[in-house]
Symmetry: C2
Subunit: 185 residues, 2 copies
DNA sequence: CTATGCGATGACAGTGTCTGACATCATCGG
DNA sequence: CCGATGATGTCAGACACTGTCATCGCATAG
């Protein structure tokens, strides 16, 4: 593989996470991350498109899982049901322990540029979910609304999960958010 | 006021918009914008927090309008009704002609960093709408869902408005999106 | 065993965004 | 006319990110 030690990418990620957590995101330079990982700044940018991308390694997998679940939903399921089931499924299985998510989120909440990236990832999820629904024959409007409102419910559920003093499960919050979404109409 | 010509801020905005539209966002530098406006790069950053902010001058007013409308909604209106009415109201009154919005959006669609900023603005709208609803006595969950799903409907409506070959009104699309949102539940 | 190609890294220069610090100039109130 | 105030200019600099080419290790063919 590499010229020196293996696992360059995960070493960079680890170094970045450590420094972001201790000094904060803005106050750590890419050069420092690379040095801590025993690599150069240039190599960091070969593994991550930019300084923020280190945070969002798992988002690709999340997106794939959601899309696959919606695509494989039973034929008789409507778009809203398919999306809701997909989010309930990943909420139950996919996410790391709440302590880890809380630390990660505290770094993100402290930096607008990280929030920007997070919102873009969620927007991409919505767009792909809508596309998956359209492939199932759902109209553009119906697909878009189902996907966007599902993501909206997830945003609310995730935030409440992170801030829940009672440490209830993410899947519980997701069900609550979806129930409230249905009730609102 | 200024040392030289007046209206520095609007001159900068005009110059930026012109250059963004002709050369594209990434291929125009802040120095070029400033020069075209007869100012220096440093002055540009005194009027706009960053290169992207030029695009989002109106978003503050949009946010204020929405929050005010929700705050002033009749007491008997539920959270979802208040939010829906607010979006229908601004959709009918606030937005520029579709041709202008289309050109603006084409620049944004061509640049992820601009989309990031746009999503942050919408997220801020959702957060403030939720806060306004809570001030009306609505529970946190109910307020968050009403605000986020309202923003979700607006995103869909706006996109469909921009891409509508029949040039139907934004308010029409907004009503359609809200109707679909209610129907989905 | 050697040559050769390939993929990952290093080295280096450069561009562009954004910030801090200080000087300068116009206008306005006294 | 003078000093305060606010907007601008000037300059230096940090830092993110990119392009380019050299270098090194590994695998594989011969």
């Amino acid at each position: 593989m590499g010229r020196w030690e293996p696992n360059a990418q995960s070493r960079l990620r680890q170094a970045a996470m450590d420094l972001y957590a201790s000094r904060g995101f803005e106050r750590t330079t890419v050069a420092e991350i690379a040095e801590k990982a025993g690599l150069t700044e240039r190599t960091f940018f070969r593994h991550f498109a930019d300084k923020r991308e280190v945070f969002f390694a798992g988002s690709e997998r999340l997106r794939e899982l959601l899309v696959a679940t919606v695509t494989d939903a039973p034929v008789e399921a409507g778009p809203a049901q398919a999306v809701a089931a997909a989010f309930e499924s990943v909420a139950a299985d996919y996410f790391p322990p709440v302590a880890f998510s809380r630390q990660r989120q505290s770094v993100i909440d402290a930096n607008i540029s990280l929030q920007e990236r997070e919102l873009v990832k969620l927007h991409a999820v919505a767009a792909e979910l809508a596309a998956a629904l359209q492939r199932r024959g759902v109209s553009e409007l119906r697909a878009a609304i189902a996907a966007e409102s599902g993501v909206a419910a997830f945003k609310v559920a995730f935030s409440r999960w992170i801030n829940d003093p009672d440490d209830r499960e993410l899947s519980t919050h997701m069900r609550e958010a979806l129930a409230e979404l249905r009730r609102a109409a």
